[in-house]
Every structure is written in C-alpha cells, then in structure tokens.
Amino acid sequence: MAELSYRDAVAHGIAQEMRRDPSLVMLGEDVAAAGGVFKTTVGLLDEFGPERVRDTPISEQAILGAAMGASMTGIPVIAEIMFSDFFAVCFDMIANEIAKSRYMTNGQVSFPLVIRTANGGGARFGAQHSQSVENWCMMIPGLKVVAPSTPQDVVGLMAASVRDPDPVVFFEHKSLMADKAVIPDGEIVDELGTAKVVRQGTDGTVAALALMVPRALEAAERLAQEGISLEVIDVRTLVPLDTRTILDSVSKTGRFFTVEENPRLCGWGAEVVSIVDEEAFWDLDGPSIRITTPHIPLPAAASMEDLAIPSSDRIYKTVLGSVDG
C-alpha cells in the first residue's frame, strides 16, 4: 500500500507497463529530462533511458506520426500531447490517420498506441489551455477514450490502455493532479469499457467524468442531508461506453443527470442521454438533465472560470430542484 498523487500515478502506471514490456516506448515535449510540465513522467528517463523515453521538438504532428508509424510496425508507443487543446494542431493524425487506417485497410494494420494528454479546466489558463475535449475524440470511429478520476484508476486504466490493441486517447485532468489516494501494491490492471458506481443511491443517477466525479460525490453528500439519495457513476471510459451500468442504475432510480465539463453542444452526455431515452424511457420519472459548462470558451479569471464549470453547488441545486426526496 502506498499513497500516490494522481500525477505520480501517471508515471507509476507508465513505469509498470514499461517494466512489463521492454519494447514499449514513450515520447513527447519535455517528457524525459524535465519529467513533464505537469510532472507526470518524473523518473521514467532515469529508469528506462533516453532510447525509450524521448524528448521531442514542438511538433505535434511528428509526435503522433512517429507513434503511429512505430506502433504499426511492432513497437507499442505512449505519446504525450502536452495540453489536449493542442489536439487541434494534430487532429489530422488523430481523426484521419490513426483512427481510420485500420478500417480503410480492412484490418491490415493495427495501432497499439496511447495518446496521453492534460485535459480540463480549473487552472486559470484561459480558453486555449483549459478545454475538455473528450467529445472531439468520442465522435471519431476507431478511437477509444479514457478519462480517469482517481490515482488508482489512472494506474489501472493506463495499463488497460497500453495493453489494448487499439489507439486509446487517455485524458489526465489538470485539476486532479494533486489528489492523493492509497493504492494497492503490485500490478494494477483495470478494464476499458467499465463504468463504476462510486456511490449507491435510490432517487436519481448522476453520470460524471474526471473532475466532475468528486464534485458529483460532494453534491450527493449534501443531498443526502436533504433526504435525497443520489447514485453516482464514474463513466471512466467514453469508448467503449458501459451503457449497461448506466441503464441499470437509471432503471432503479428513475431520474438521470449528466455532469459534463465540456461546453454544452455535443458533449458526451448528449449521447448518453439519447441512449437512456431510447432504452430506459419508461423507467424515467422525469426528464434527463445535463449539467454542463455553458456554450462559451473558458474565461481565465478565477471567478469566471468557477462560474462556468459545473460546481458541486450547481449539481446540488440542480438535482435538489428536480428530484422529490
């Protein structure tokens, strides 16, 4: 048993996999000697050396191209894109090349690679370094999409992502980096496509992702004092999506809420709500409600950013206003 921060868990998870598979390599800007700008790759250069842990130029297309070409020829790769906002400068690699080449070639080539990136707001970085862009990747056939909320999930889902034969986009949340938890000794391997019920409840179901999970849990704690029993689901992976866990919960509680950090339009919750609508409509006692960031670029000022991103208070009030205890 050891206490690890979320940021330490990233390096811990990568190291676990690099020890297991001597062919696994990683690359990215400032990931080696500096240990990453978020200090998520500290110690990897020392343990695995400069051949396997590589600093790159600021060349996001070249980084992902290298990952793609190496993975399709027998070398599994973890590539870091420093901020998920930078996906916009290499989205050809993500959306057109890595995601589609398997289908286009009728299965001739595979891409066992992980694209890690720092995602999400709360750090007062403004509109170009704070976005939650899971939905950019969720909409592309051929990708898998992971966004853990706890240190243990970081390690276990990192292992699952590395071992998965498909390209996985792995979102690490900037505002969770300092969160700490005790995690078990020994190898931790989780499973993609599995959501987790992180709080049991009977009056409503909240599906949340990454930073929104602790906020939903905080809201649920307050709601319990009002006599409202909220079930909280950590979605964990958007693709594959564990709809079974969500649908079972909604059928039990009769109400459904999503908490999404992304701006409103086309957030992951819209897809989940449509599935609930199609498949659990007759179990619902009221409309599904999406709690999201407004459809705006994120502002830099602390007071404004806090207003924009769903807070536990907003979750609390929204649920309180729509669920009878």
Binding site: G69, I75, D92, E97, M104, P141, L241, T243
Partner: protein, 354 residues
Amino acid sequence: MPTDDPRYDYALRPPRLPEPVDTTLAQADIGMDTRLGMYRKLHELRQFGKRAHDLFLQNLVKGTTHLSLGMEAVATGFGAAMKPGDYTFATYRGHAHSLARGMELGPALAELCGRENGVLGGKGGSMHLTDASRGMMGSYAIIGAHLCVANGAAWSAQMRGTDQVAVAFFGDGTTNIGAFHEALNMAKIWDLPVVFVCENNLYMEYTPIDLITAVPNPAADRASAYGLEPVIVDGNDPDAVYLAARRALARARQGAGPSLVEAVTYRSGGHSRADPGKYRPEAEVAAWKERDPIPVYHDRLLSLGTPEARLSDIERDVAAAIDAATEFARNGREPGEETLLTEVYADGGSQWRN
C-alpha cells in the same frame, strides 16, 4: 478576366522544359536483370494507369483516381532499389508505388472498382492502397501526414535493430505544409533510416509550384534547413532514380540518417480524373511528352544490346496481365453488409458500447 494575362491563365506562362536525357546513364553500374525488371515495371504502371482511366470512363471505377501517367520512373527506380522488408508510404497518387512493391494487379484494380476482392475489400478505394504484407504501409490522402508516419516506421526499425528503411513519396505541394518540416527535423535529430522522395511534377494540383513556393526547387532548396544534402534527380529516368535511391537507402542502412530526394517529373494527364490539365502551356506538355520515360528507356535498352523482341515480349506479357486483372476486378462482387461493420477495432468489429 483578361484573355492574355498569365496571372489569370497559367497556360500562357513560359513553358518549363525538361533537362535533356543524361546519355552517360547507359554506362551506369546497373545489372541488365535490374534494368529489364524496371522496364517491365514501367509498363505495368503505365498500362495499369491507362486501364484505370478506361474503367473510369466505363463507370466501373467510381469516385476519383489520381494517376501517375508520365511519372512512373520514380516509383519504378525506388521499387527496384528497395529490399523486401523496407516500408513504402505513398499519397493518394499511390497506385504506382503500390505496384512497385509487388501489390497484385487484380486486387489493386478490384479495389479501384469497389469490389469485395479488392486489396482492401472495397473499404479504402483508389486513394488508400495498402499491402502491409509487402511493406506497402499505406496511401495517405491528406497532404503531409505520412511523412511523419514514415518517421515512426523508421524509428521502429532503428529500435528493433533491423536494416529496414522507410521511404515516403509525396508531391511538390507537400513541401509547403507544416508536417513536411516537422518530419524532416525529427528525422534528422534522430538520424532515422528514412528517405523522403519529392515527386516534383511542377504543379500543385492546378497551380504552378514555383508561383506559390519561396524557392525554385521546392524540396532540394529546403534540405539545408535540416542539415541534409540537396539532391535533384531526373525523375523521368529510371536509371537516374535507381542510382539516387541506392545511395539514399545505403546511407540509411549504414545509420547515416535521412535523405531528401527531389525527382523532377511531369504528369502527362491532369491532377485527378476531373482535371483535363488545361492550365499548362502546350509547348511544355509537348516537350515533356518527348521525355516520356518509357520510349527513352526502350531506346537505352536497345542501345545496350537488348533484342527488340525481348522488350516486346515484356510489353505483351504485361498487357495480358492487365487484361487478366481487369477480368478479376469485373468478376468481383460488390461488398455488402457482411463487412460494412468489421475492422474498426482490433477485435474485428465496430462495437463501441455494451
């Protein structure tokens, strides 16, 4: 629109004429088997391109096609110099490069026709020909990306300690996109065994490349920015290309890092099937037709003592193979629901939820 202003009609610009044939290439150290192999390949690529065009006019090839007619010497010369384990990365204009690595004619043509017996089962089409079993690692239809991907394959070969080389073919237009520059820089700093081959056919789609590029030689003049030698070869002469390829591949295998080769050539047709290519001066098109790689190479082989009958046998063999491939493609089924949802993910399916 003024009728006599070359800014409005590029066909009125002065023609850019080819260099004369380098007659000393006849004495180059290239074995006769290699030369005859290249002669066969030139014909294969030419006749395949023409057949693809014909099938398009018959509405059997749908969508679009980007042919390498007139440019076959580049893929031929490199194909002859590469080893079986080497990697090819091509563009949407990738038929020639695929066939040069040994892709079978029938499945290639069937893919263009959208048939189940196509090399990609109909899922990729003309712009994405791939045959990984032969080192043909894909045809990439968005400019620039595959240079970065070729780096990755070269990096992998370097890490695995093999002597494989990755070769990326691209057009002159690619030299103006960021990925080209990112790829060259990374290849150099990591000494990757990769060869970047610019097929400079003088036109970025419909626009003369010299009008939209800061330097006269779009690839070679950029080489020094990445610590590379500027290399320009006659892209219409398979011997010239073969020699340049042999040098660049040897460099890469010896661990001396990347090369950038600019092969100057010319499309005899338009950019894609929708383009008649009317933006080019007539005198230019005519002059390059005189430098068509096939008759020039035919004459060189005769001058080296190859009997005419040997060459015409090759042409006849290739014609028969193209006819057989056409039958193969015509007889293929149109793919349907059985494979529509397969091979999105490595489990063979497209399941994204439980």
